[in-house]
Symmetry: C2
Subunit: 190 residues, 2 copies
DNA sequence: TCATTTTACTTCAAATTTTGAAGTAAGTTG
DNA sequence: CAACTTACTTCAAAATTTGAAGTAAAATGA
């Protein structure tokens, strides 16, 4: 039975696909006590996917709001995310694709808008003239800095103590694992 | 200094926004040992957001692939997610909005396609004739069941042992927290 | 060496998804 | 019962994403 629980993601009691974690007393109780959870509740692949979709939607609209506050009208939140993905290094379009699992034509489109808006510079690489080298301009760096500043308030709320930090790290790491599993599955089949 | 670390999401050493958790020896080491992490690395709000975006993209394309395999041509992955959000209960459009943080007109649009495809039934509520009651048809339930079946393989890979389950739960719970914080911020300001 | 293939991207058109403004019909309230 | 609110729907426009086709440069191999 335990084997089945571990391997199938069986739903027990309140764990109906579509309900929130807040409805699961086991999980929340466990969090406070720092003990191993009693595994009567299992989070499935799909519950996580739906949660990720929701959270992603929330973040996008938050980002849109922040950008409106900053008076940014020429690019949207998706483009801002590309900007954040570039960060403070110079990289090629290919490297950027890997960073965000974008599709090539999509990034090309965004980079065009970002270049038109003066947020990035693109220079053909000397070594390989096919390869475009991308970096943020002053303006691009400024937008990123402003967004990071605005993000500070969220970091303070989200990471109040060591326990919060621990959970954020585990969440990050677990999402990275999902990324790998889902990505490999898409390429090679599961 | 520790206070600053805790409250600002300061990036230390390898923790440059845009790099992967796999690059953080501290996190990975901690996972195996079950000990408290040494907090030299902090996951910021934005790193998480970018990870969520990436993972979401991966899942959407995986879902698209699964649906193609199942021969579903009349609706896309977004509509399938709505179907999964409905689950096996009857609910109103408003309840569905809450479940996925959708925008009303968006759901209306999806529900129309799903109804046209025969995946859902919509009946006006007897009590309140403005309110539409939604539920899956046989065909809709079948699609959900097929998708859940396909998901079984992922559950097996992702939740191999009690530790995996624990991390999945923490990830789920942490994402739920992000959802609340980001959602409240959007409505009331932080 | 030079034809062929591969890589690194871009372009464009079409599809999909999301937004926002405006509408409708049914309930609710003073 | 007039005015307001709620629960949705519709529609057009915008934003995002995909996919096919193209271009130019680099690598390969006979």
């Amino acid at each position: 039975m335990i084997q089945k629980l571990l391997h199938e993601g069986v739903e027990v009691e309140t764990s109906i696909d579509g309900y929130y974690a807040a409805d699961f007393p086991e999980i929340t109780a466990e969090k406070q006590g720092h003990r191993h959870p009693v595994h009567t509740v299992v989070v499935t692949h799909f519950e996580l996917a739906r949660m990720i979709e929701r959270v992603n939607r929330r973040f996008a609209s938050l980002l849109r709001t922040e950008m409106t506050k900053l008076g940014i009208e020429d690019v949207g939140p998706a483009q801002a995310m590309v900007l954040m993905a570039i960060g403070d290094v110079e990289l090629s379009v290919g490297e950027l694709l890997d960073r965000g699992h974008y599709v090539g034509s999509n990034i090309s489109y965004y980079l065009k808008q970002l270049a038109d808006g003066g947020y990035i510079d693109r220079v053909a690489s000397q070594r390989d003239k096919r390869s475009a080298r991308i970096r943020l301009t002053e303006k691009g760096e400024q937008l990123c800095a402003n967004l990071r500043d605005a993000g500070g308030a969220y970091n303070r709320v989200l990471a109040r103590d060591a326990d919060d930090l621990r959970n954020l790290e585990i969440a990050f790491q677990t999402l990275h694992r999902l990324e790998l599993v889902w990505g490999n599955a898409a390429r090679y089949g599961i």
